[in-house]
């Protein structure tokens, strides 16, 4: 039998049909839906008189537009367009009979945090959503990727996707991470190595000692940003940590079905002789706490570094780097730790889980954030929020001066009122530092939760290891 990668195995297990030219029809096990990329898809179904093919496998939750302030349940959402979109999701969810977590449900949150939390995401599945950060679910050994709205409609109508198979890439992180270095630093470091187009055409399997040592939360952070490297999806083979995380979740299998599922999940790994089209090996010891200086996630440097000169680059990157320096208001050659920060945002589907907040609490406990600093922590779900309150983390954060918000995507993409002003500079645990991402002319530095906490205390980008 031919040796297969984990991706090959999941792909093969979901093939409905393959045409002569290699175009395949892939079955989709879970379809996650949010309010921004779905209204046109549901409208398409209605216009064609079609139904949702598998409402039981379809889960809708509002996240991008929802306000995260504590008064959001009092009265209507003020922004009319946001309200129309949120109302449309609710109407569509109810009309078509799909699972739905409304804003006032404690289980509501960012779709990529809710899926795993509720046990919708399971090893070996195919998971799609009209959102590029669907890659998050790859942490469970599920083939998970973002799709456009036309494909959302296609999945709603048929529970399948027309796909061409990607190539296999292996990213191995050998050895152990240094203290102060986290999953976020791994995933940013990898993008710094590959560039934002380096993963285009590939599904990445992350492996190696440093990946195995990560919690499920950390693995989700790593896979979440696979898309920032251009990959279709990121994957990590499931192991005992995965099974322990999944067991007992509301929609995880129980009893005899659990045993059958577990037996299958234990076959989900890349065979020893499986062939990867590309292999990247990185020593964990070489990874430092990382930050971005520019306007592309590939603009990654270790915190000990200096802002580069445009002339350090080649080809089209020279112009792009100069544009980024101008946009970010940075001087080439300055130390990254000299960059002053106005605002700290901790949250998003990259870093809005309980482990992220525990890390922040450890660093800020008994301290105060820099005077004048605006700092907010936005939990990834109502359940993460409740757990943080129960563990005393929320109180530590509030005592330190952080705003403690309700669940949503918030300032990661700033579709709700949580936005930066022009030229406001933010240390953000989110995933994209594009121009205008967190508000028109806003300036974003991507960092880990620990590094965001450090910046909140000092008022400038700071090596968390120096605190």
């Amino acid at each position: 039998m031919t040796a297969k990668t984990l991706y090959d195995k999941i792909w093969d297990a979901h093939l409905v049909s393959t045409d002569d030219d290699g175009t395949s029809l892939l079955y989709i096990d879970r379809h996650l839906v949010h309010e921004v990329t779905s209204p046109q898809a549901f409208e398409g179904l209605r216009n064609a008189g079609r139904k949702v093919h598998a409402p039981d496998k379809t889960i809708a939750v509002p996240d991008h537009n929802v306000p995260t302030t504590l008064d959001r349940l009092e009265g209507e959402v003020k922004n009319e367009e946001s309200r129309v979109q949120l109302d449309a999701l609710e109407k569509n969810a109810l009309d078509f009979g799909v699972h739905y977590y409304p804003v006032d449900d404690i289980r509501q949150g960012i779709v990529h945090i809710v899926g795993p939390e509720q046990g919708w995401t399971l090893p070996g599945m195919t998971v799609v959503c009209g959102d590029s950060h669907t890659a998050t679910h790859g942490a469970f050994g599920a083939l998970a990727h973002g799709i456009g709205t036309s494909e959302v409609e296609h999945v709603l109508a048929t529970q399948t996707l027309i796909q061409a198979k990607s190539k296999n890439m292996k990213v191995e992180i050998t050895g152990k991470l240094q203290p102060g270095v986290t999953a976020k630093d791994i995933t940013m470091h990898v993008i710094g190595e590959t560039g934002t187009a380096g993963g285009t055409g590939y599904v990445i399997e992350y492996c190696g000692e440093a990946i195995e040592a990560l919690s499920m939360e950390g693995r989700m952070t790593v896979c979440n940003m696979a898309i920032e490297g251009g990959a279709r999806a990121g994957l990590i083979a499931p192991d005992q940590k995965t099974f322990d995380y999944v067991m007992g979740r509301p929609h995880a299998p129980k009893g005899a079905q659990w045993e059958a599922a577990l037996a299958y999940w234990k076959t989900l790994f890349s065979d020893e002789n499986a062939v990867f089209d590309l292999v990247l090996t990185i020593r964990a010891e070489d990874i430092e706490p990382s930050v971005t200086w520019g306007t592309s996630p590939e603009d990654v440097l270790p915190i000990s570094g200096n802002v580069p000169h445009a002339s350090d680059f080649e080809g089209g990157k020279v112009e792009a780097a100069q544009r980024a320096l101008d946009y970010m208001g940075l001087e080439a050659g300055m130390k990254l730790t000299d960059i002053k920060i106005d605002t700290v945002f901790i949250g998003s589907c990259t870093n809005g889980r309980i482990e992220d907040f525990r890390e922040v609490a450890k660093i800020v406990e008994g301290k105060k954030i820099k005077s004048g600093m605006r700092a907010m922590v936005v939990p990834g779900s109502g359940l993460v929020r409740a757990q943080a309150e129960e563990e005393g983390i929320a109180q530590i954060l509030k005592d330190a001066g952080f705003e403690w918000r309700l669940a949503g995507c918030s300032m990661c993409l700033a579709m709700n009122p949580d936005q930066l002003a022009p030229e406001e500079r933010c240390a953000s645990t989110s995933n994209r530092n594009f121009e205008g991402r967190q508000g028109r002319n806003s300036r974003t530095h991507l960092v880990s939760p620990a590094m965001a906490a450090a910046a909140a205390l000092t008022g400038h980008l700071t090596d968390v290891r120096d605190l």
Binding site: D21, E43, G148, I162
Partner: protein, 201 residues
């Protein structure tokens, strides 16, 4: 979906690399529940200043390129989010072809669903076409999908590759969902088998 056979139109040069979906259509405009009307906000933050006035230097604001149907772009065009609002905005503006050395995966796929042809070419061809596109009103390219060729203003021809199935759908303006529904028996068979072998899914 509108059929795509041939386009004879002005090509606008956008040599910047990594033009992302937030640049193509900022999130502000994702709050719509429609597919139409996004063209006026295409490249909004590059195209208009803070007061909402046109930035004269931006390529699509220049008289020669206001009716461009083609963009010749730097590497990795369309990186970032899955928002189909990006191709909707391009299409609504009138863009039917984007040419680059590489495209982000989801954006690439989204284009074909909306009658836009993304063409991948090696750097040397891009350099030549970028040169052609710099010629203002004379930057007319002829794109022939059937024969998979691009003809420049000097008559020079470049061939390109495109997936046969995607080409077929584009030329005929086919709706994917209708095609897949013809395979409903195969889907039902797959589901029946999985219900037994993996009942937890």
């Amino acid at each position: 979906m509108e059929k795509f056979t041939k386009i004879n139109g002005v090509a606008a040069p956008m040599p910047l690399i990594n033009i992302d979906t937030d640049m193509i259509i900022p999130k502000l405009f994702l709050k719509t529940i429609k597919r139409s009307g996004l063209g006026k906000n295409l490249f909004d933050e590059m195209r208009y200043d803070d007061a909402g006035n046109e930035v004269p230097d931006f390529v699509l604001n220049k008289p020669a390129y206001r009716n461009a149907q083609i963009i010749v772009a730097g590497d990795n065009f369309g990186c970032g989010s899955s928002r189909e609002h990006a191709p909707w905005a391009l299409l609504d503006f009138g863009i039917r072809v984007v040419i680059s050395t590489s495209f982000a995966d989801i954006f690439y796929s989204n284009c074909f669903k909306n009658g836009i042809l993304p063409i991948i070419l090696p750097q040397e061809d891009i350099d030549k076409l970028m040169d052609d596109a710099e010629r203002g009103a004379n930057a007319v390219l002829n794109i022939d999908l059937e024969n998979q060729t691009i003809t420049g203003p000097d008559g020079g021809e470049v061939s390109f590759e495109v997936d046969a199935f995607k080409k077929h759908c584009l030329i005929n303006g086919l709706d994917d969902i209708g095609l897949t529904m013809q395979k409903s028996d195969a889907i039902a068979a797959f589901e029946a088998q999985n219900a037994t072998s993996m009942p937890w899914v």
